[in-house]
Symmetry: C2
Subunit: 404 residues, 2 copies
Amino acid sequence: MTRALTRDVVLTHPDGRPLADTDVTLSQVSHAFSFGSTGFELIDLANADDVEHSDPDAADRALAERWLAVFNTATLPFYWQQVEAEQGRPQTERLLTAARWFADRGVRVKGHPLAWHTLAPTWLQPMSADEVEAAVRARIRRDVPAFAGLIDTWDVINEVVIMPVFSNEAALEGDVGPNALSRYCRERGRIATVRMVFDEARAADPSATLLINDFNLGTAYECLIEGLLEAQIPIDAIGLQSHMHQGYWGEERVLDICDRFARYGLPLHWTETTLVSGDLMPPDIEDLNDYQPTSWPTTPEGEARQAEELERHYRSLTSHPAVEAITYWGLPDTGAWLGAPAGLLRPDGTPKPGYDTLERLIREEWWLAPTTARTDAAGQVTLTGWAGDYRVIAPDFETTVTVA
Amino acid sequence: MTRALTRDVVLTHPDGRPLADTDVTLSQVSHAFSFGSTGFELIDLANADDVEHSDPDAADRALAERWLAVFNTATLPFYWQQVEAEQGRPQTERLLTAARWFADRGVRVKGHPLAWHTLAPTWLQPMSADEVEAAVRARIRRDVPAFAGLIDTWDVINEVVIMPVFSNEAALEGDVGPNALSRYCRERGRIATVRMVFDEARAADPSATLLINDFNLGTAYECLIEGLLEAQIPIDAIGLQSHMHQGYWGEERVLDICDRFARYGLPLHWTETTLVSGDLMPPDIEDLNDYQPTSWPTTPEGEARQAEELERHYRSLTSHPAVEAITYWGLPDTGAWLGAPAGLLRPDGTPKPGYDTLERLIREEWWLAPTTARTDAAGQVTLTGWAGDYRVIAPDFETTVTVA
């Protein structure tokens, strides 16, 4: 399918008379589709911008320009261990400032994640199941309302499929046994765990879009979702990770995944998308975390491949009617997960071909540049473009039209 | 844990007086634990025995002796395509005869399976979802009551994890698209499918033990079970397949599986157990069906390995309190799934060492041979043995005691 819609729009003067037989300029203001990326890398800049007379890093400034030229949705990190390393002393100001910075620039903001066994705070570790539940609920009850109006979408819970069987990250935390959230999930069950966090998140922000999110895109995630829907848990969208460090999956597999998850009738968000522009991770690695070479450079051949695959991936995903969001997982190579050359900007900040590809697709091919059109005698003009907001400039006034 | 129980039993004369200070002989009659195997191979013999003056095959007769010397539970094949190749003309008489043959010999009988995408009848293929459901319900409503009193345990549904995403067996049926049960399961959902067949089976035999059964022993099966229990589907036991053609899994993995599935509070049945006594299947084969060499012989080294692994496997499984049944998937090599040397009898009918191992464990080490004991003044005697029935022979009478 093509996502371009054709809509007849009737324009009127501010006093209500039809704007008949007049040249107007139509131009797209925004996409309803979420073309996202992580906003992690701009938190420093946002906080520097928040201080008068500060002089933000020039590289950050350039990064921000690149970011805003392509994306319209930022995922901010709510990893609990980072947000609240010391119980009761949450460090939310920096995130609030970052969320405001994005919102001020017309960017939608998403929070990731409210509950996850990985990066759960160490102080959770000795707690009983009841205490863990109370802490998780309190965290959601505190953070979600604090960001209401700024963050409208949450990954409420991350990677539930493996949550109860997940072994602790011994390297990070020492041998402390299964982490507290895994223990809780194993004791209470996956469905009870998801119900608990969703009920709390829903109560904390009734209008938010609430996701489950997983890297498991197989039958296990299907079975989980079927159980959650049977239990009437109010999931708004299904999050699908796609870290393709071992190589692009190809249209057939990707569209098969879309079809399999679309049958639950919920929007699909491809939440964590990466394609590397260097050597591929060997195919025998099962847990991607197990492969972190000391050096993993971007290469010219890898960049060409990444650009081609990005185009195929974004074209196939946007062709599927159930897909409503794609988040690329990190614009710069600097700081990328696993040290992989998975960004769209090189370590020196220059754009890879894949950056240009996404900019061309999202802001040119799938975007209506200022276009002149003439209304008919009834003031009607035909607008063809993706769902989103469009600015209409008439000789004497301007207005905004939403295409949906 | 050891499964041997110690029970004080008070023996009385038929008139009610304590059987004081008397020597009695205690001997085990049966195991409550199900040590099963397939009964497929004895259907011909059972049907020949049912005919007067017939002369059953001597090899079958020998096979039957071997079978009955070890096992107490027979799984009979209810593959729908075989039972009812022509719609409305079920061939159940042969199975009824076989079930009676086993029951007459004190063997419990189990039916496998009532619903499965594989070996679903070809006439199901053109049906709509509603028609498929009606046919499945009718099949269950017909077959379960027909075997009531003979078959007390059913694999109600098989391999639901992959059911909705299962591609058809093109080699068997030609390219006819997804099979009808997979289509149904995909359209209605796994939980609705399981509910449908369990509701029908429960209504058809309220006292039967009803299982789900799967080869997926990972997170997908966990997620499915959690959804089914959340939906309050009346599952009596969890069936775990374990075709170990690629090598014995080892105690650690096996007990981890037991622990993971035991947390749902249901008995575990290891329903389809195999260990080969020849070359192992290469580890890169994902679907075991994809490896069927023209010749796959049993070898002396393989038989020694199989015997050792059988002992480890049966010891570890019986050590877990949630496990209530182990079914070995086929006593003879002849006719074994995939042509693998997975049986306990060689093609010439002689026992492999693994047969002797199971006989020794089940009928010697875990079995109380006739033992003399003396009652005290109150008629009490102490009996130590696995749960099951025990015969007590006193000087003037005999009785049976159940240890539970």
